[in-house]
């Protein structure tokens, strides 16, 4: 029964059928690859993904990027690097030109000799088609608003794209992480593309990447095979096949890695000590662009009374021992954060004011603000007790554990924090509504360091209700700079203002422990939202 199901799933694609001759080399593979054993990379993956369209998937798109490529990706240094583009346009290399009317022309020179998996030529028309799709009405690309500054997309020739922007935007280099094939999807409406199962599910998922889609067995795995016609040359990719097996339970994934049957798997930070004895594996603590933080909100009546005063927020931040959270709770796997921007990112400012753990100072600040210790051990001011609710997401052990530490440490300075725990989707809804007093949460930033969206008074993701017009002005300016030298000092100031204003308490930069077999060559883990598989084309497996 099982094998008949496999056959049916694969029947739609020639690739799938060919690949079913398991253990046999792909027809057309280089002669030498026939001589040696197939190199199969086996990955224990966290979850089953939703769709293979990189612009409509609601999940991280690392599996996608093995098959589909974009103009850019991010490397292990959180820096954008070109993929289908020959280089990233800048003013220095003359590919970014300011027009008199304030618009900007940005020229992308594309790699030549690139072919889609079905043999069609990859051209500038595909890039402009992707732009049109992402910006269309009804588009569901999460950062669609970032693309809206592009007002025109021109194709002077097959390998050149000129994008005209209505203004300068700092994040321009982080767009187009994938390109859609115009010859497959070009005749459809936006909604038809979003709902187009053959592209979403693999049978027509055509990319330019080092691997081609082979098989998606529902609930079990996605399998991709070597693209023999890869544009970087016949030496790439070096692996014949990748199998992403979905192992959703983190303890089971740990056990799976310990059996030695997989080459790659992500585990929880608290499990790191349990893989220390695996001699055939390295554990890479890849600092992710996700930063854990404590937010205090002033949208509710109680929130306003307690947290509107920046000195009170400061007092709370000084009462929390983040080093203890990093060392104790997270077993020293994470690095304490003082700013949202990751140290791996060139825009990180190491000189921001630090809310050091200092309960004495906390107490003084609270006393000065008029919050006096009452007989029940909780501070109060007038008839208001200093008591608030921390909103927790059920099942998120990491965040709840942090919340418990915070609760205990605040109690020590006379502040009472109670918990309200909600199931994931309910928590998200409540969080988005802004109707809460405090939360521990994690943002996942792209490699672009812009945080305007998070902290501007009218930022779509500012759920705290806190607002600082000066900060807004600096962030707005930083968003309009496209060269590093001009943008960096502005973003440095932004990070300082965030810390001085006690807008949020960054706790630590989350790490993703990635357990990688010593057989794997060229693993260069990246913590951005494009993940660690960004350079799969050069990965190899020692035999």
């Amino acid at each position: 029964m099982v094998s008949s199901r496999i056959r049916r799933a694969a029947a739609g694609t020639v690739i799938g059928l060919l690949a079913l001759g398991c253990g046999q080399p792909e027809p057309g593979a280089a002669a030498d690859s026939a001589a040696r054993a197939r190199k199969i990379l086996r990955v224990a993956y966290n979850r089953e993904i939703d769709v293979l369209n990189a612009f409509t998937s609601q999940m991280l798109i690392d599996i996608h990027l093995s098959m589909v490529e974009g103009l850019i990706t991010t490397d292990e240094n959180n820096t954008y690097v070109p993929v289908l583009a020959k280089q990233i346009p800048t003013e220095e290399n003359g590919l970014v030109v300011r027009n008199e009317d304030g618009t900007i022309d940005m020229t992308w020179e594309l790699q030549e000799n690139v072919r889609w998996h079905d043999g069609e030529k990859f051209t500038s028309a595909d890039v402009c088609f992707t732009w049109a799709f992402v910006t269309s009405d009804g588009s569901e690309t999460y950062n669609r608003d970032h693309y809206l500054g592009i007002i025109d997309c021109q194709m002077p020739d097959e390998h050149t794209v000129v994008m005209r922007w209505d203004d300068a935007y700092g994040f321009y280099a982080g767009l187009f992480e994938a390109i859609l094939p115009k010859h497959v999807l070009g005749n459809m409406t936006t909604r038809e593309i979003i709902n187009y199962v053959p592209y979403n599910r693999g049978t027509e998922t055509i990319g330019t990447g080092p691997f081609r889609f082979a098989e998606w067995k529902s609930g079990e795995y996605i399998r991709v095979v070597r693209n023999d016609d890869y544009w970087r040359g016949p030496q790439y990719p070096r692996i014949d096949e990748i199998v992403w097996s979905f192992v959703p339970d983190s303890n089971a994934r740990l056990n799976a890695m310990r059996t030695g049957r997989y080459d790659y798997g992500q585990i929880e930070p608290t499990q790191v000590s349990e893989v220390a004895d695996l001699t055939d594996y390295d554990t890479h603590l890849v600092t992710s662009n996700r930063f854990m933080h404590l937010d205090l909100g002033v949208n509710t009546e109680r929130g306003r009374r307690l947290f509107a005063d920046a000195n009170v927020r400061r007092a709370i931040f000084h009462a929390i021992d983040r080093q203890a959270i990093a060392e104790g709770l997270m077993q020293g796997t994470v690095q304490v954060a003082h700013t949202p921007i990751n140290p791996a990112n060139p825009y990180h400012n190491p000189e921001v004011p630090i809310h050091a753990y200092d309960p004495q100072l906390s107490a003084e600040l609270l006393d000065q603000a008029g919050w006096r210790l009452a007989s029940d051990g909780v501070r109060s001011k007038g008839d208001v007790r200093f008591s608030f609710t921390l909103l927790n997401r059920a099942g998120d052990r990491e965040r709840i554990a942090i919340a418990q530490v915070i609760q205990a440490q605040l109690k020590a300075i006379g502040i009472e924090a109670t918990f309200e725990t909600m199931e994931s989707a309910a928590w998200t809804q409540r969080w988005r509504s802004g109707e809460w007093e405090a939360i521990v949460a994690g943002w996942f930033l792209s490699a672009d360091p812009g945080v305007t969206n998070l902290y501007a008074c009218a930022g779509a993701n500012n759920m705290t209700g806190l607002c600082d017009p000066l900060l807004d002005a600096v962030m707005e300016r930083s968003d309009r700079r496209i060269d590093f030298a001009a943008r960096k000092p502005l973003l440095d100031t932004v990070q300082v203002l965030l810390a001085e204003g006690a807008r949020t308490l960054p706790i630590y930069y989350a790490v993703t422990p990635e357990v990688v077999s010593k057989r794997v060559v060229n693993f260069r883990g990246s913590g951005t939202n494009f993940g660690s598989f960004w350079n799969l084309y050069e990965w190899d497996l020692r035999q």
Binding site: N143, I194, S245, P248, T259, S424, A425, N453
Partner: protein
């Protein structure tokens, strides 16, 4: 309607019950739909879960495409009118037809559940008889003790222990999935089946053997068993023919009711062993607030429960001819 001397034939009984299923299932669908919608948060939560910044307009577009911006009754009647034509809609997260998604997960769930069911039934009957016949002996105490452990032990914990022993320590069995990708042998597939089936059956063995022990102990004390013994029947026939047949009635009806589980899968076991069944699909659908997929799975589960209730009633009558259908 109780009418002495008049009994409905089994076929009419079954027919009437089947007809009653229609309004019952309609009612169930309303309740499920309402409950799903009543849960706070919507499918757009999936967009926000990764912690990326989301363009608010995109959330609006998403809700519009899925139709969740409409009033609940509109959504329900839209769903119902499609469902009546056999169309269970498309999944929010994968854009694929719900019926297809359920259909491709069903074989794995059926295989796992049926294996564990048969395994559990065989062992439970054996253990149940043994501990009833050898009541108050060390064998009975051992079986009783093991049963309590089996019922009390959390499934996820037991599953992880088995993984640690048989997969990590001994290296005999795989941790996850239904096959080693690339291997085509039946043995490879069976190796994958052993641990999840063992975990699932353990609990049932424990529960069912206790049921059988209790009812068999009762039966062995009854008058007709004493009569059977008195007329000189061998002990094997007394237990096997006279006592066991009656003692099986409660167990069989419980097992028939449990048959519905064959289709709904096992949420925890399937998740831990990465078994691609309905239970795991349900968990995914729940977290994603994938309303059509949730409706499809829950409705299928309801149909099975209602159906196997009927089966249980019929089986009851077969085992005990004194029971009459009305």
């Amino acid at each position: 309607m109780r009418d002495a001397g008049y009994y409905t034939p089994v076929s009419a009984f079954i027919g009437r019950r089947l007809l009653l299923m229609v309004p019952l299932l309609l009612g169930i669908s309303v309740v499920i739909f309402a409950v799903i919608q009543a849960a706070p948060g919507g499918p757009e939560g999936a967009l926000l879960e990764t912690g990326r910044f989301i363009d608010p307009q995109v959330i609006e577009n998403y809700r519009q495409r899925l139709g969740v911006d409409q009033p609940i009754h509109v959504q329900y009647f839209r769903w119902l009118s499609a469902a009546l034509t056999g169309d269970l809609g498309v999944s929010f997260s994968t854009t694929r037809p719900v019926a297809e998604m359920i259909g491709e997960r069903l074989p794995a769930t059926l295989e796992l559940m049926a294996t564990s069911f048969v395994l559990a039934a065989m062992l439970a009957v054996g253990i149940g008889i043994l501990s009833a016949v050898k009541q108050h002996t060390p064998i009975d105490y051992l079986a009783t003790g093991a049963s309590f452990v089996g019922v009390a032990m959390p499934v996820f914990w037991f599953a992880l222990l088995l993984q640690l022993l048989f997969s990590v320590r001994l290296g005999w069995l795989p941790v996850a999935g239904t096959e080693t990708v690339g291997a085509t042998s039946m043995w490879d597939h069976l190796q994958h089946l052993i641990l999840p089936a063992a975990v699932l059956s353990f609990r049932n063995i424990a529960g069912w053997s206790r049921y059988l022990r209790a009812s068999l102990v009762g039966a062995l004390r009854s008058d007709y068993v004493r009569t059977a013994r008195a007329k000189g029947l061998p002990e094997r026939a007394v237990v096997g023919v006279h006592a066991l047949r009656n003692a099986l009635i409660p167990l069989v009806s419980i097992m028939a009711l449990n048959l519905a589980d064959l289709f709904s899968g096992a949420v925890i076991t399937e998740t831990i062993f990465a078994w691609p069944g309905i239970g795991r699909l349900f968990v995914q659908a729940m977290f994603a607030r994938d309303y059509p997929l949730l409706m499809g799975i829950l409705l299928m589960g309801s149909v099975m429960v209602v159906f196997f209730n009927l089966v249980a009633d019929v089986v009851y009558g077969v085992l005990d001819p004194r029971i009459r259908y009305e």
